[in-house]
C-alpha cells in the first residue's frame, strides 16, 4: 500500500499497545522525527512505563512537537492515540503551526498485540488493557476525518503493514527550485488592455487573437510572469484576462495565485449562493456571453490555484494578500485564508471597510513577500514586503515587480473603471488617507542574546546584559534611528613597547601588520578631539526620501555613542551647511553619483564635547594634585630646614609635583573655548558611504585623497589629515615614519593611527585589526594618570592585555560596515538598527578603558 504524506506534516500514529507503531516509525522515519510517549515518560520520570508520569510526558511531547513544526520539520507522534481526547491537542497543534495532521491507524488483531507485548518484559499488563484500547480505537476510528485529520490511512493486517511504501510529497506551494527571473504582476481586475500593455512593456511577446483563439504571452529570455490574483471583477474585460492568464499558466510562462475575488467568482460559477457585490456583477455579465464550457474551465482553473508560492530558493514569496513568515511554505485552511484575505483587526473604518491588521510592519522574515489586495497610490517597501496593487481598475496603474532586479514597472490605467469606497490618494476633503507604512523597530530586534549575520565575519554574538545596557542609552539619548546608520568601532593600541620609558611606539604596530602579511600601511596623525559621525544630505528632500526624516533637517552630527554632538541646533546646522557647501564645491555629488554622504571624523577641540569629563575628571585631578602636593612640599621643606631627615621624601614629592604639572599641561593642549563655529575644527578621515556604495572597498589613500579635495574647499573649518605611506618590510621607510612620530608627539600631538592600506584585510587567521594607535608619552598621562611615567608605575603598567580590546574592535568594525551595507542596499530600518544597536551594546562590554 502506498501512503502519501506532505513533506511537512504532523503524523499521528494510532493503535493499541503492541500494534507495532514504534517498529513502523523506525522503518519509515528518521529517529529524530519520531516523538514517542514512552521516551518522554522516561525523560520526566526515569521510567518509560510509569503511567503516573503520563500527563507530564505529554506536556513535553507537545512542546517538542510544537518547536519542531515551528521550524518546519516533519514530526511523528508515536503514542497509542486511541481516544479522541488524546488526538485533539495534536490536531490543534498542527493547526497552530499551519501544517496538516495525518493519521496512520494500525488496527491489528488484538491477539497479535497481546503476543507481542508478552515478549517484552517491561510490558506486564494483561490482555484487558489491549482490549480496552482496541475498543476505544474502534469506537472513534471512523470519525478521524471529522476530528480534522486531512489524510487517514488504515492498516489492519501485518501483511498490509509490511507492504507499506511511504512517499513524501513536496507541498504544492514549494517552488524553491524555480529561479525565474520573474515579473510579479498586481491586481488586474479585468483591465485587459493595461495587462497587455504592461506585459509588452516588460518585454513579453503577447498574442491576442480575440474570441476563442489561442492566447499567449512569452518572454524571449524565458522570464516568467506571476499573477497575484484578483484577475476578475469590476473591470471591462474579465474573460480576456482569464484567457490570457490560463493560457500562459498552462504553457508554463506564468504562475498564478488566487485572489478573494477569483475564489468568490468560482463559487458563484459552481452555483453557490454568494452576494453579488464589489464588481462581481460585471464579471458575471461578461461571462454570460461566453460558453458554458469556458465558465466551467474558469471555475476549475481557479479551484486548482495554490494559495501562495515560495520561489527562488526561498528568497521570494508571492501571495494575493501577503504572507506571515510562520505561514510561508505551509498549507492549512488558515494559510489559505490569510493568502486570500489578509488579516483584519475586527474593526471597521469610517467607510465601513474592515481595518486591516498591519502584518507587514511586524514582518521580520528573510524572504521578500510581494502581494497586492489593497490598492495604494504607490508601492512601498516595508520590512522586505511590498504591496504592488496600485489600483489600476480605480484609474491608478497596473504595476509589476521584476525579480531579482527589484525594479518596478507600471502602466497607467486607460480610464477609471470603478470608484473605490475609500479614496486611493489622500485629498483635502477626507483628511489623511492610509498612513504611510513606517517601519518601527521591535524590541525583539535588539533585546536578549543576539546573533547578527555579517558579510565579513559571519555571525556575531551580542550578549544579553550588554543589549540591556544599550537599550537605555539608545532610547534615552541616541538620535533618531533613521539617521543612525553607523557607529564607529573602538580602536586598539599597538602592543606594549619595549622601549624603557614608553608604553607605545609605532614600530610595534608595524610589526603587527608585517606578521599578519600586510606589507603596506598608512600612518595618519591622530587628532585629539571627539569622534563625530556626519551624515550630510544635499537637501531636505533627500533627507525625507532617503532617510525618512521629515522634520526639515538635512543631516546630523553625532558622537561615538549615537548622541547628538551639539546641544545647540543652530551650531549643528551651521556646521552641516559648511560641509555641504564644501561637498557642493568639490563636485563630489556628481563624481560619486550620490545625494548624501556619511563621514567619519574627529571634531576639535576636545573640550567642545568633553566638558563634563574635563571638569569633573581631568581638571579636578589636576587641581587636587597641585593643591595636595604643594602643601606637602611646603611642609616637608620646613621639616628638612629644621634638620629632620626627610630629604628623600621631599625629593620624591617634588618629582610627583613636576609630573602633576606636566599632566595639567597635557590636557590643556586639547582645550580651547568655543564661542562660535570659528573655533571648531573638523578632520574627516573616512568617507564611509554614499548612495549605493560602502567605501570599504577603497584603500585609505583614496579616502584621504577624496577627503582632501573636500577640505581644500573650506580650510578654516576642515582639516586634512597628515599621513605617510609606510612599507613595513623596508627599514628606511619605517625609520622615516618613526622620526615623524617623534616630531609630531614632541610638538604635543596625540600620536598616530596605523592602518593597513586596504580598508578590510584578511590576515593569517582571519580579519586583521582595521587600525592600531600609537599614542605619545605625554598624552598617555591623561589616560594612565599624572604619575604613570614613574619607573615603578611603568613597570606595572606594561603587563596589559590587548586580546579583548582587539576582539571588540574587530566585531564593532564588522557591525559598523554591515550597518552601512544594509543601509545602502535599502534594507529595512530594523535591519540597520540591529547592527548599530549591536555596536553600542558591545561598547558596554567590560574592557580596560585605558587601551
Amino acid at each position: 500500500m502506498k501512503i502519501t504524506i506532505p513533506e511537512l506534516c504532523l503524523v499521528v500514529l494510532v493503535g493499541p499497545s503492541g500494534a507495532g507503531k514504534s517498529t513502523f516509525a523506525r522503518r519509515h522515519f528518521r529517529p529524530t522525527e519520531v516523538l514517542s510517549s514512552d521516551f518522554c515518560r522516561g525523560l520526566v520520570s526515569d521510567d518509560e512505563n510509569d503511567q503516573a508520569a503520563t500527563g507530564d510526558a505529554f506536556d513535553v511531547l507537545h512542546y517538542i512537537a510544537g518547536k519542531r513544526l515551528a521550524r518546519g520539520r516533519l514530526t511523528v507522534v508515536d503514542a497509542t492515540n486511541v481516544q479522541p481526547e488524546a488526538r485533539s491537542p495534536l490536531v490543534a497543534l498542527a493547526r497552530e503551526r499551519y501544517v496538516l495532521p495525518v493519521a496512520i491507524v494500525l488496527d491489528l488483531p488484538q491477539r497479535l498485540c497481546h503476543e507481542r507485548n508478552r515478549e517484552r518484559p517491561d510490558r506486564d499488563f494483561g490482555p484487558a488493557v489491549i482490549e480496552r484500547q482496541s475498543r476505544q480505537l474502534r469506537r472513534s476510528a471512523r470519525g478521524l476525518e471529522r476530528e480534522g485529520f486531512r489524510y487517514v490511512y488504515r492498516l489492519s493486517t501485518p501483511e498490509e503493514v509490511e507492504a507499506v511504501e511511504l512517499v513524501r510529497q513536496p507541498l504544492w506551494n514549494n517552488l524553491r527550485h524555480e529561479h525565474g527571473p520573474f515579473d510579479v504582476i498586481g491586481d488586474v481586475h479585468g483591465c485587459f488592455a493595461e495587462l497587455v500593455a504592461l506585459l509588452r512593456e516588460l518585454g513579453y511577446e503577447v498574442k491576442v487573437p480575440g474570441g476563442e483563439g489561442e492566447y499567449s504571452a512569452r518572454h524571449p529570455e524565458g522570464r516568467k510572469a506571476v499573477f497575484l490574483g484578483d484577475l476578475v471583477d469590476r473591470g471591462p474585460d474579465t474573460p480576456s484576462v482569464l484567457r490570457l492568464v490560463m493560457a500562459t499558466a498552462r504553457s508554463g510562462d506564468a504562475l498564478c495565485v488566487p485572489g478573494n475575488h477569483d475564489v468568490k467568482l468560482a463559487r458563484k460559477l459552481r452555483g453557490r449562493d454568494v452576494r453579488i457585490t464589489h464588481g462581481l456583477a460585471e464579471s458575471l455579465e461578461q461571462l454570460a456571453r461566453e460558453s458554458e464550457g469556458f465558465r466551467a474551465e474558469v471555475a476549475e482553473f481557479i479551484e486548482g490555484l495554490v494559495s501562495h508560492y515560495v520561489l527562488d530558493d526561498g528568497k521570494l514569496v508571492v501571495a494575493h494578500a501577503g504572507m506571515r513568515e510562520e505561514m510561508q511554505g505551509r498549507s492549512s485552511p488558515r494559510v489559505r485564508d490569510f493568502a486570500l484575505y489578509g488579516e483584519t483587526t475586527g474593526e471597521t473604518d469610517e467607510f465601513g471597510l474592515p481595518v486591516r491588521y498591519d502584518w507587514a510592519s511586524e514582518y521580520r522574515g528573510r524572504a521578500v513577500v510581494v502581494y497586492g489586495h489593497t490598492p495604494a497610490p504607490e508601492p512601498e517597501w516595508v520590512n522586505g514586503t511590498i504591496n504592488i496593487d496600485t489600483g489600476c481598475v480605480f484609474g491608478g496603474r497596473l504595476t509589476a515587480l521584476r525579480w531579482p532586479e527589484r525594479e518596478l514597472v507600471s502602466v497607467q490605467a486607460e480610464r477609471t473603471y470603478a470608484r473605490p469606497v475609500r479614496p486611493l490618494a489622500p485629498d483635502a476633503a477626507t483628511g489623511p488617507g492610509p498612513r504611510p507604512a513606517e517601519d518601527l523597530p521591535d524590541l525583539q530586534d535588539v533585546l536578549g542574546k543576539r546573533l547578527i549575520a555579517t558579510a565579513l565575519m559571519g555571525n556575531l554574538t551580542v550578549r544579553e546584559e550588554n543589549a540591556t545596557a544599550a537599550l537605555e542609552v539608545m532610547s534615552r539619548f541616541a538620535v533618531d534611528p533613521r539617521w543612525l546608520i553607523y557607529l564607529p568601532p573602538t580602536m586598539s593600541p599597538s602592543e606594549t613597547s619595549r622601549e624603557p620609558d614608553l608604553l607605545e611606539h609605532p614600530s610595534d604596530a608595524f610589526r603587527y601588520y608585517r606578521n599578519e602579511g600586510v606589507p603596506v600601511v598608512v600612518c595618519e596623525e591622530k587628532h585629539m578631539g571627539s569622534r563625530a559621525v556626519l551624515v550630510v544630505c544635499r537637501d531636505e528632500r533627500v533627507a525625507r526620501e532617503r532617510f525618512g526624516v521629515e522634520d526639515g533637517s538635512t543631516g546630523i552630527c553625532y558622537t561615538r555613542t549615537g548622541r547628538r554632538f551639539f546641544e545647540d541646533a543652530a551650531l549643528e546646522a551651521e556646521l552641516l551647511a559648511r560641509v555641504r557647501a564644501a561637498l557642493d564645491a568639490c563636485g563630489l555629488w556628481k563624481e560619486l553619483g550620490t545625494d548624501w554622504a556619511c563621514l567619519d571624523c574627529e571634531l576639535m577641540p576636545w573640550s567642545a564635547k568633553a566638558q563634563q569629563l574635563l571638569r569633573g575628571q581631568y581638571a579636578a585631578v589636576g587641581a587636587a594634585s597641585q593643591l595636595g602636593l604643594s602643601a606637602a612640599v611646603q611642609a616637608l621643606e620646613r621639616a628638612v630646614a629644621r634638620g629632620v631627615d626627610a630629604e628623600e621624601l621631599l625629593e620624591r614629592t617634588r618629582r610627583r609635583q613636576e609630573m602633576a604639572t606636566r599632566y595639567v599641561e597635557a590636557y590643556r593642549r586639547y582645550c580651547w573655548p568655543v564661542g562660535s563655529i570659528r573655533d571648531l575644527r573638523l578632520a574627516p578621515f573616512h568617507l564611509l558611504a554614499t548612495e549605493g556604495r560602502v567605501h570599504a572597498d577603497k584603500d585609505h589613500e583614496w579616502h584621504l585623497r577624496t577627503l582632501a579635495a573636500i577640505c581644500r574647499e573650506d580650510p578654516d573649518l576642515l582639516i586634512q589629515t597628515p599621513h605617510r605611506r609606510v612599507d613595513v618590510t623596508d627599514e628606511a621607510s619605517q625609520r622615516e615614519s618613526m622620526t615623524w612620530w617623534e616630531e609630531l608627539t614632541g610638538r604635543g600631538g596625540e600620536g598616530i593611527v596605523v592602518k593597513p592600506l586596504e580598508f578590510v584585510v584578511r590576515g593569517r587567521r582571519g580579519p586583521v585589526q582595521p587600525a592600531l594607535k600609537s599614542r605619545s608619552r605625554e598624552y598617555l598621562r591623561i589616560i594612565y594618570g599624572p604619575e604613570y611615567t614613574a619607573p615603578e608605575n611603568l613597570a606595572r603598567l606594561r603587563s596589559r592585555s590587548l586580546g579583548r580590546k582587539r576582539s571588540l574592535a574587530l566585531r564593532e568594525f564588522e557591525l559598523g560596515v554591515e550597518a552601512l551595507g544594509r543601509f545602502v542596499r535599502r534594507e529595512p530600518l530594523h535591519r540597520v538598527h540591529e547592527c548599530v544597536f549591536g555596536v553600542l551594546a558591545l561598547e558596554s562590554e567590560p574592557v580596560d578603558p585605558r587601551l
Partner: protein, 470 residues
C-alpha cells in the same frame, strides 16, 4: 594628602607624647594602600606642628582591588585619590594616631583628657556641597572654621571652582575629639569610600559618634553619607557607556529628580497625580494593567493594594530604576498571591513590544516629556497601534502653570531631563490626533489645583478604545 595638627599649649612639643611620635624624627608606616609619613615642620616650646602625609600608590589602587583592570571605568585610573583627604585618611588616623584617637596617652595621661588649643589643617579636602557643607558639619561642633577654595584650572576660569578646599579648624579641646571628628566627617564630605560598606561600619559609626553625633543638626546626612551603598552591576555597565559625555547618569538622575520634587512638593502633586490615575483605572474596570515608565514603582505600590487589579506590569527603560522598584516593592518578600500579580520588565517605548499586547489599561505617568519629540511617533505607534490597551491614562506637565512655581526660574522646564513641556492647547492637539489616528476617544482631567488663568499643574488625557460612548 596632608593633615597637620598644631598646638600652642605649653610646652607645645608635648604634642609628640600625645601623638606618640617623636618631633625630631620622620617616621614611616606601611599601610595596605601605601605609606604614611609623620614629621614635624615646626617644633618649639611655643608652637608645634605634626604632619601626617599619605603616599598612595595610584596604580596599585585599581590593580590591587580588581586584578586585571578589565571593567573598571577611567576615573579609577586618572584619580584624585592619591592627592586628597578621603576615607584613606581616616584609616591612616586610626592606624598611625590610634592611641590619640582613643584618648589614651601613657606618658601624659592628664594631657590626653585636657582641653588644649588646637589647629588642624587638611589640604585638598574634597567637599560635595562646597564650603557651605564644610561649615554645616564643623561649626555646630564649636570649631572656628577657615576655608580656602581653589579654581579647577586658572587657565580656564569659566570652568569655575574645584571641589577641593583647604580646611582649617581651630578650637580648644581634647585631641581625641578633634581626631574623631575628622575620622568620621572627612569621608562624609568626600562622599566616596575606598572599601565596601557593611554591617560593621554601622557599629563603627555608633562608637565614634558617641556624645556628639546624636545632637548634630546634620545627623541624618552624616549617617546616610557615611553608610554609602554600592551600586548594582547593571548600573556599572551603563556608567561605562556614558563615557565622556556624562559623568554618572545615576547620580545626576537622582539629583534631577530631587530638583523636580522640590519644585512640586508643596502641593503634594505627585500623590494627587497617582490618586487620579488610580481613580481612572478603577473607573475603567481594568484588571490587567501596564505601568509604562514605572520608575521606582510608586503607582505599582498603590495598584497592588487593590485586589481588583489581577495583573500589574511595570516597565521602565532604566534598569537601575527597576532594581530600586524591586526593592521598594519588596518583591522577594511578597506573599505568593501578590507576587504573581506583579511583574517588572525592562523595555523601551521607542520599540514595538509584543509583551505589552492584550492589556486592559496602560498608565503613562509623566513619561512622554522625557522622550525626544522625534520619538513621539514611534511611541504613539508602539502604544496605540501595537500594544493597543482598551484604556490609556497619560499625564504630562502643563507648561503654562510653570509661572506659578516660585522656585522655578523663568523659561526652565521642571526637570532637566524634560525634552519638552506642553501647553494645554499643544497637549490637546496631540492627544486628539492620536485618538483620531488610532480609533480612540479622549477626555481630559485636571490634576492639582486648577488655576483660573493657567490651568492645573498637570494635565491628564484618558484614551478609550472605540468611538465615544454615551
Amino acid at each position: 594628602m596632608l593633615l597637620t595638627i598644631t598646638t600652642t599649649h605649653r610646652p607645645a612639643t608635648d604634642l609628640g607624647f600625645l601623638l606618640h611620635k617623636h618631633p625630631g624624627r620622620a617616621q614611616a608606616f606601611d599601610l595596605a594602600f601605601g605609606r604614611a609619613h609623620v614629621f614635624y615642620p615646626e617644633a618649639s616650646e611655643e608652637r608645634c606642628t605634626a604632619a601626617l602625609l599619605l603616599e598612595i600608590a595610584p596604580i596599585g589602587l585599581v590593580r590591587g582591588r580588581q586584578g586585571s583592570g578589565e571593567g573598571a571605568i577611567l576615573e579609577q585610573y586618572v584619580s584624585d585619590r592619591p592627592y586628597v583627604a578621603s576615607s584613606f585618611m581616616s584609616v591612616a588616623i586610626a592606624q598611625v594616631y590610634g592611641t590619640a584617637l582613643n584618648g589614651r596617652c601613657s606618658a601624659r595621661p592628664e594631657l590626653a583628657s585636657a582641653r588644649i588649643p588646637l589647629e588642624a589643617t587638611v589640604a585638598a579636602l574634597p567637599s560635595r556641597g562646597g564650603e557651605q557643607m564644610l561649615r554645616r558639619l564643623f561649626e555646630p561642633l564649636g570649631y572656628t572654621v577657615g576655608v580656602r577654595g581653589r579654581m579647577l584650572d586658572e587657565r580656564f576660569p569659566e570652568w569655575g571652582g574645584s571641589p577641593y578646599h583647604t580646611l582649617t579648624l581651630e578650637s580648644e579641646r581634647r585631641l581625641s575629639e578633634l581626631l574623631t571628628h575628622l575620622y568620621v566627617l572627612v569621608p562624609v564630605l568626600d562622599d566616596q569610600k575606598h572599601y565596601w560598606v557593611g554591617q560593621e561600619e554601622i557599629e563603627k559609626l555608633l562608637r565614634r559618634g558617641e556624645g556628639w553625633l546624636a545632637d548634630h543638626p546634620a545627623r541624618d546626612l552624616i549617617v546616610s553619607r557615611y553608610l554609602k551603598r554600592q551600586r548594582g552591576l547593571a548600573r556599572e555597565a551603563i556608567r561605562r557607556l556614558a563615557g565622556e559625555e556624562e559623568g554618572d547618569p545615576d547620580a545626576s538622575a537622582e539629583a534631577r529628580d530631587e530638583e523636580e520634587s522640590r519644585v512640586e512638593e508643596r502641593v503634594g502633586l505627585h500623590e494627587q497625580r497617582l490618586g487620579t490615575v488610580l481613580s481612572v483605572l478603577r473607573q475603567s474596570g481594568a484588571r490587567r494593567v501596564l505601568d509604562l515608565g514605572c520608575g521606582e514603582g510608586r503607582l505599582i505600590q498603590l495598584l497592588l493594594r487593590d485586589r481588583s487589579f489581577t495583573e500589574i506590569v511595570g516597565m521602565d527603560v532604566s534598569h537601575a530604576a527597576l532594581e530600586r522598584a524591586g526593592e521598594r516593592l519588596h518583591l522577594d518578600r511578597l506573599p505568593p498571591s501578590d507576587r504573581k500579580r506583579v511583574k517588572l520588565i525592562h523595555g523601551s517605548l521607542a520599540y514595538r513590544d509584543r509583551r505589552l499586547s492584550g492589556y486592559d489599561a496602560a498608565a503613562v505617568v509623566e513619561v512622554i516629556e522625557h522622550l525626544d519629540p522625534y520619538r513621539l511617533s514611534a511611541f504613539e505607534r508602539a502604544l496605540f497601534e501595537a500594544a493597543r490597551p482598551r484604556t490609556v491614562v497619560l499625564t504630562t506637565p502643563n507648561i503654562e502653570y510653570n509661572v506659578r512655581w516660585e522656585t522655578l526660574p523663568a523659561g526652565r522646564f521642571r526637570h532637566r531631563d524634560h525634552r519638552f513641556e506642553w501647553s494645554r492647547r499643544e497637549f490637546r492637539e496631540w492627544s486628539a490626533g492620536v485618538a483620531e489616528r488610532h480609533g480612540y476617544s479622549v477626555r481630559y482631567l485636571p490634576v492639582g489645583p486648577e488655576d483660573p488663568e493657567v490651568g492645573p499643574p498637570t494635565q491628564m488625557a484618558v484614551f478609550s478604545l472605540g468611538r465615544e460612548v454615551g
